[in-house]
Symmetry: C2
Subunit: 256 residues, 2 copies
Amino acid sequence: MPSSKTPTGSESRKSPDAAQQPGRPTPPEAPELIWLRPERTGRGPRPAHSRDSIAAAAIGIADAEGLDAVSMRRVAAALGAGTMSLYNYVPKKEHLLDLMLDAVTGEYRLPPAPSGDVRADLADLAHQQLDISRRHPWLPALLLARPSLGPNALRYTDHFLAVTAPTGLGGGARMEAMALFNGFVTQFAQYEQTAAAGAKWQAELVGYLSQAAMSGDFPHLAQAFATAGPPADPDRAFDRTLDRVISAILTPTGAT
Amino acid sequence: MPSSKTPTGSESRKSPDAAQQPGRPTPPEAPELIWLRPERTGRGPRPAHSRDSIAAAAIGIADAEGLDAVSMRRVAAALGAGTMSLYNYVPKKEHLLDLMLDAVTGEYRLPPAPSGDVRADLADLAHQQLDISRRHPWLPALLLARPSLGPNALRYTDHFLAVTAPTGLGGGARMEAMALFNGFVTQFAQYEQTAAAGAKWQAELVGYLSQAAMSGDFPHLAQAFATAGPPADPDRAFDRTLDRVISAILTPTGAT
DNA sequence: CCTTCTCTAGGTACAGCGTACGTAGAAGCG
DNA sequence: CGCTTCTACGTACGCTGTACCTAGAGAAGG
């Protein structure tokens, strides 16, 4: 943690002679992480909006029209504010996305303590994430694009660590396990979304694949096609692979 | 699914009286999937560029300046072509990204046949993917964003199916396994990239996390922090989790 | 051969994006 | 009270993807 007053000196923007003049405050070093910036400093007029309301507005737009429709102008308009006013709350658009992420992460219903059944607790977390992802179709893409760790994500992380405590794994290993676990669920949700988005795309893909299988260049693909049964219920496929992932996490490997 | 000739009717752009006139060809329905469009039809002047050269140009830009620097204008300029000429080869920017994806997928060195050691073959695939992702830092993000299945991806898929044939799993299950497997590697590579990108960001994150751990609101997080050893070699962490993933794939669960 | 049709090349233009910058005024602190 | 620091927001810039249009190249049909 650097002292809050020392300027780095490498970022002088104006004339160099004014570099060290104490009259120029040179906004010392705003943290890049939005959660490190206080929402309110106490000085000046009180803000007309809150991070929560901004996130809610953005989420409303994303739910209704997709993530691409979330622009600074749109969100500001939804709040009844001027476009540039939004930049008082959110220094860059990235941070707006961080707010959205953490807001939906708040939708988890986390029990006060683990039930004792690790498998069940993990399965519950996975299904909750799938539900949330279905409510907010843009979520998987965002989750895959940026890590982010807002307050609600911290709560989730703490809960995950609590749930997996009985495995005997060390803290680092459990964090890796969480990444693996979340990653799987997120990717599944993401795939579900893209598949649902374009029926035409999916139909073309099937045609393309079977044509490729027919060509003879991909014998194993052809064989897989031949032996594949009906398209299979996605929910069942999810549970099946989820089981494998949980087993992978719970199986001891001798390393911490 | 509408028959392939009937116009939807909602897309008439010109005068409606010319709608069904046979003289107007009405480019019947170009497939959305770029791999379904022939690269060359045979009529007209021969194109000045190829899909390969276009992909190479785009990849060069992305490698040097990141994915955001890949714009239609930039790629066209790199080819010495006018911006709009690019649209003769690539109907939308998405398809340019598809070309890039499949081109780098061609960098896999796939042995002509599986070695017989499933674990070793899978580990090799994973390490190759990690290498390719390190050569092309933009790859993980792209891979996570869109499925895509170009010719090289088909070759990869066929190989994966061949490698996993001895597991006794059905075709569908092995496809799911591939998704899990690729997803893990891709996410790991992606995380590695974002971590490498911003040292400042990472430092802030550590500060934020330890501050959160200190606050007492997240006891398990605090405990994980306390028991965590040194930051751990990323390569070792990769191999460790990769082992778990492979085990998850290889362990029979009674379902096909 | 010439005609015709289809293709490629590329310019112009538009709507929309993120955001740098500057100004005006309100609210807390000394 | 004044000083400082905040909020609000209009204007403007450079950039994006791409719709639309005009020329002209070259293969196919007569």
